[in-house]
């Protein structure tokens, strides 16, 4: 492989995200759709960075609330006991099943927090149009997208327990307000990740078209950008 990798973007071609067809867009920047499957080649979501920030900040506030409010209320003959996420983990740890305590801790406490931090980091790097570690950041995004869903675990555990333990005289388990808030954190971070994903396609399209107008068609070696630069256009900045 020579120093100048021939990428679709560099040739002014665009690969459709849905069906993979490589095509050369005709003229106008707006209303571009894939000729084969009709998917948008150029997706412009107005102010998507601002909206992603809004979702992330809301998720951050709710994450704190979700850890403070009780997710589960257990009523028994001996009175009512409320459990937060952390006290649930502590109970699992002390009652002898530490592997499960570790799983629940990762899914409900560590994953949402790391997801919020990772999305904030990616968003900042998009805004700063940074080219640093682009390949690794693209991987981070895919990891976040994949791992995020597992934080629904606690919601499901509460659902199953509430449905099962409804023995009027003996014990009652109810879902607490923390469960609602926690569910909202999961949904908000999923939407935020989705919006960030659209952000990347905006840049893809811009880049693919800039190659067409010749703005970026110079020799790639001369611009000082390495091969990994092109991994960057998975979702991040595209200095023109």
């Amino acid at each position: 492989m020579t120093a100048a990798p021939i990428t679709a973007a560099r040739c002014g071609l665009y690969a459709c995200r849905a069906c993979g067809l490589v095509s050369r867009p005709a003229q106008a920047m707006d209303a571009l759709a894939c000729a084969r499957c009709g998917n948008d080649l150029y997706m412009r979501t107005p102010d998507s960075i601002g909206r992603t920030w809004a979702l992330l900040i809301a998720a951050c506030i709710l994450y704190i609330l979700a850890n403070v409010l009780p997710v589960m209320e257990t009523g028994s003959l001996f009175g009512t006991q409320t459990d937060t996420i952390m006290s649930g983990v502590a109970y699992l740890w002390t009652s002898g099943s530490w592997p499960i305590a570790v799983v629940v801790f990762f899914a409900s406490v560590a994953v949402p927090l790391l997801k919020i931090l990772a999305l904030a980091f990616l968003l900042i790097s998009v805004q700063r149009r940074s080219a640093w570690q682009s390949h690794q950041r693209a991987r981070l995004y895919r990891l976040v997208e994949y791992v995020g869903r597992w934080s629904m675990l606690d919601i499901y555990v509460v659902t199953i327990l509430t449905a099962l333990v409804q023995i009027q005289s003996l014990a009652m388990i109810r879902a607490g307000p923390g469960a609602v808030v926690f569910g909202a954190v999961v949904v908000l971070t999923m939407f935020a990740a989705c919006l960030l994903g659209q952000q990347r396609s905006v840049h893809d399209a811009t880049y693919g078209l800039s190659g067409l107008t010749g703005a970026d068609a110079g020799p790639p070696g001369g611009s000082g950008r390495g091969g990994f630069y092109f991994a960057l256009k998975r979702f991040v900045s595209l200095p023109t």
């Binding site: 990798p5 849905a18 490589v22 699992l92 629940v104 659902t159 199953i160 509430t162 003996l170 092109f230």
Partner: protein, 202 residues
């Protein structure tokens, strides 16, 4: 718009490459970054359809039978998936009930339904109506289908009740376990890009 159907751009690094005719059952990888480009598997429609149909059968079973049974002082309490959602609804936890039912019932059902419809039409040698929008719909439905996470929840919750009652796995638990595995296999065989290539090759 000029189409270049003989070219393929790597999904990872965007390297432009010429497509080659692959021997049966092999996979083309990007020469720069090694990412998978496309496969040549002529039976992927049949296999995907088989997995998806089997998964649908187990999914229906998982929704009809109790998932777990709680045995306490000689009495038995059980719950189905729908019963669990109902319990939450009656506790004024409507938002959580909706979230749980959408992620464990509606979205997996949509995912399976679309896959079966598209694959069945292709199997019968027809172009399914709304092929392109259905393929796109599957991509946006999938992140919200969380049966495997629910499965993990089912394995964790008995531990919380260990000191309190005996928990017996219900029929639906086994069905759901099989459904998760088959759903993953079906999703692996149902690759929108490969399906497009096959459609064009026809």
């Amino acid at each position: 718009m000029t189409q270049h159907s003989h070219l393929i751009a790597c999904g990872e690094c965007d390297l432009l490459q010429r497509k080659v005719v692959l021997p049966m059952g092999s996979t083309a990888c990007c020469r720069r970054c090694g990412a998978r480009l496309y496969r040549h598997q002529p039976d992927s429609v049949q296999r995907g359809l088989a997995y998806a149909l089997a998964s649908l059968v187990l999914f229906i079973l998982a929704n009809l039978f109790p998932i777990v049974v709680l045995a306490i002082q000689g009495e038995r309490y059980d719950t189905t998936l729908y019963g669990a959602v109902q319990a939450l609804w009656h506790q004024n936890m409507e938002a959580v009930a909706v979230l749980v039912s959408v992620t464990t019932m509606l979205m997996p059902a949509l995912d399976l339904g679309i896959m079966i419809y598209v694959l069945l039409a292709l199997y019968l040698g027809r172009m399914p109506l709304g092929f392109s929008s259905l393929l796109r719909a599957v991509q946006s439905v999938r992140p919200w289908s969380m049966v495997e996470v629910f499965m993990l929840g089912l394995l964790v919750s008995p531990v919380k009740l260990m000191h309190f009652a005996t928990v017996i796995p219900g029929i639906a638990l086994w069905a759901l376990g099989g459904c998760v595995l088959l759903l993953i296999a079906a999703a692996g065989a149902f690759n929108p890009r490969d399906l497009w290539e096959q459609e064009v090759a026809r």
